[in-house]
Point group: C2
Chain length 138, copies 2
DNA sequence: AACTTAAATAGGAATTATTCTTATTTGAAA
DNA sequence: TTTCAAATAAGAATAATTCCTATTTAAGTT
């Protein structure tokens, strides 16, 4: 039983070929938007309907199998929900990378100062990755 | 000379009635999406075209007069660019609040660990505001 | 205060994105 | 294998966004 099949069934979703293919493609891409995902999948799955994509992306996001990554001025991207992490987005090459950063202390601080219970966090740092820093120096 | 007029002219944009009205409405609302903004503005500005809205929101975001606030599963919202701040989003009432949180140390940590130059940060904490915490207790 | 003109707008068409509908297919439980 | 609720494909319908162009306007100049 594939990992994806298990994930789906644990969430009361039938493990259809379409869903598994979507999860595989997202996992492989890391972060990918609806269009690119659809084009990729269509190559090996010519009957896949766009409606099926939208429906499943939405359902699987609702069930927290997927995570929507929203960045200003960009299309929504999807990633597999894994360990909590932040996103580093390079202004140069556009790459999105997952990184861990311990922010428990900041969350606590924020909760105390604002009388707010933090249940989830979403952190994006934009800037320049190593490669793009180096290119600027040349 | 109104503040908005000045902001626009500093960015080489003509201070049109439309733009000033858009800025006023966003400032008043705090965070607002295209639809709500358009409906609000139309009341007092019946000829305003939707295309004008989109064009200006996009231009003013490009010029960093506005900031796009993107949250998963929600329409893009716009806010006036002011001091850096994080967003607290309540799962109960949906309200978005601006708060300051010093994360310089975390940014430095992240830069060193990942050889990444951070130029901007975007932090959203979702959870429960005071009101909605209290309601859950009752 | 009128003149000039590049920039901006209104209005609507065109395009793109997303959701909805329904007949057919399929995963998986019995 | 049979059964059937759930899911899909295909395409229509709707919603969101961009594009086009004739007209208007902000603001600099006389």
């Amino acid at each position: 039983m594939s990992n994806y099949q298990e994930i789906l069934q644990n969430n009361n979703l039938k493990a259809t070929h379409q869903r598994i293919a979507i999860l595989e493609a997202i996992d492989h891409a890391g972060h990918i938007d609806v269009d690119k995902l659809f084009k990729n999948l269509r190559k090996h799955f010519p009957t896949l309907a766009l409606g099926t994509m939208y429906r499943n992306l939405s359902e699987m996001s609702d069930k927290h199998i997927l995570l929507e990554v929203t960045l200003p001025g960009q299309k929504v991207k999807y990633e597999l929900k894994k360990e909590p992490h932040i996103h580093l987005v390079c202004n140069g090459c556009g790459k999105i990378e997952d990184r861990t950063l311990d922010i428990e202390d900041k969350i606590k601080e924020c909760e105390e100062e604002n009388d707010f219970t933090v249940l989830d966090s979403n952190i994006v740092f934009t800037g320049l990755c190593q490669k793009c820093q180096d290119q600027k120096k040349v």
